[in-house]
Amino acid sequence: MPKHKIMTPDQSSGRELTFEILKYNPRDPNSRPHLETYKIRETPGMTLFVALNMIREDLDPDLAFDFVCRAGICGSCGMMVNGKPLLACRTRTADYPDGRIRLMPMPAFELIKDLSVITGQWMDRMSKRVESWVHAKEKQDITRIEKPVDPDAADATFELDRCIECGICVASCATALMRPDFVGAVGLNRIARFEADPQDERTDADFYELVGDDAGIFGCMSLLACEDHCPKNLPLQEKIAYMRRKLSKA
């Protein structure tokens, strides 16, 4: 049964939005995965963040979803919106002209409940796997001024460091869904980030030890859903091809 929101006067003017949202709690033996329908009125400039809070407040206090920053920075609100992985806080309901929005949790990650998944564990494993820290022989003496870094190299590193670990590239990637051990665009981008970092002394051969296999760089099937969905517009197509060329010769 669709649930209807009791309308306040200022909301009665907006068009009606129909949400279908997956409801499921894997930890509750009585819970069955199903799509629940909710109808609300659109407000000006409404994002999915606003809509979901409205639904939780007025229609279903039990609905689980994650948000922290509401500004596309923290990377905790990724979900499948009409099949596409998006940051819910940056997705406007106005972009759905027919007013029908279906929300599913991101695949590839462990489901906590409804729309809430654990990306953290996955990212943690990825970080360890690609040894996501600067490898340098000399210990940094933090009491002294750092060695200067070439500004272009620093820019290149920071550009790739903009990743917010939202997991959207992983959720969009059919390869990652089919092969759960695949390191994913986020992991390959991380490799490219340290490859670009002048402070990291690792060689191509060192990176090959980390991702030189079919679960790493050679497992990528160039579907480019990562490139097409990354909310930070990271140059994933370019950087994965770049690492592939490098490691192919490593």
Partner: protein, 259 residues
Amino acid sequence: MSDLIEGYLGKRVDGTKSRVPAALDRWQSITGLILGLFIIGHMLFTSSILLGKDAMYAETKFFEGSLFLDEPEPILVGFAATVIFVIFVIHAGLAMRKFPYRWREYKLLKTHSAHMGHTDTILWMVQAATGFGMFFLGSVHLWTMMSMPEKIGPYASSDRIYTDNMGLLYGLLIALVILHAMVGLYRLSVKWGITVRRNPRADRIRNKKIMWGAILFFSLMAYSALGTYWRIGKEHRQNYGERYLPQSTNPSNSSGGGE
């Protein structure tokens, strides 16, 4: 010994990771590239029938070595077909490593493709499906060319397509190979960053357009050619087996021999 170590440990004797995965990935692409370029040439040449029987006849003789040899040698064509077959088998063996093998993998891929509306993901499914189809149809065609390379020509090929019922197989194979090869060549460009180096995003869009254009162009050309062979084969069905003689050497074009 090193095989024993690498086999069980996945490491080389110096303790570093095996380079075989890199080589497999490279050869998958190299064989794909060779096949893709080959098939473009192949379709252009077989479509010479659109320019007339004489053009197709001259082209057949050219590939049988007419430039260097006094007598045409169909075995040259048989040899070329064998080389392509070997590359085809290697490519299929390497690329099939990416197939969704288990039901869960297939189901995930299918659901994702259906709901995400992402063209390159859908095109990969097309590539896997068309590749799978070519295991069967491509092998039949290649075997024919390897085992009877002398039976190629304006009449011989048309007879095969019409009277020998290969037309349907070719009709399916054309769709499979055009989709697979054009999507494959596009994918090669983004996979390795070839031709998309200067402006990766814009160049990818351009390459994708070229891909669609090529699919359309080669489909029109190949199916027109197939239709022409079919028509010739139908007209020629009473004289099945008779070989074509070019108009220039024999204006009456009646008696056998030739080709």
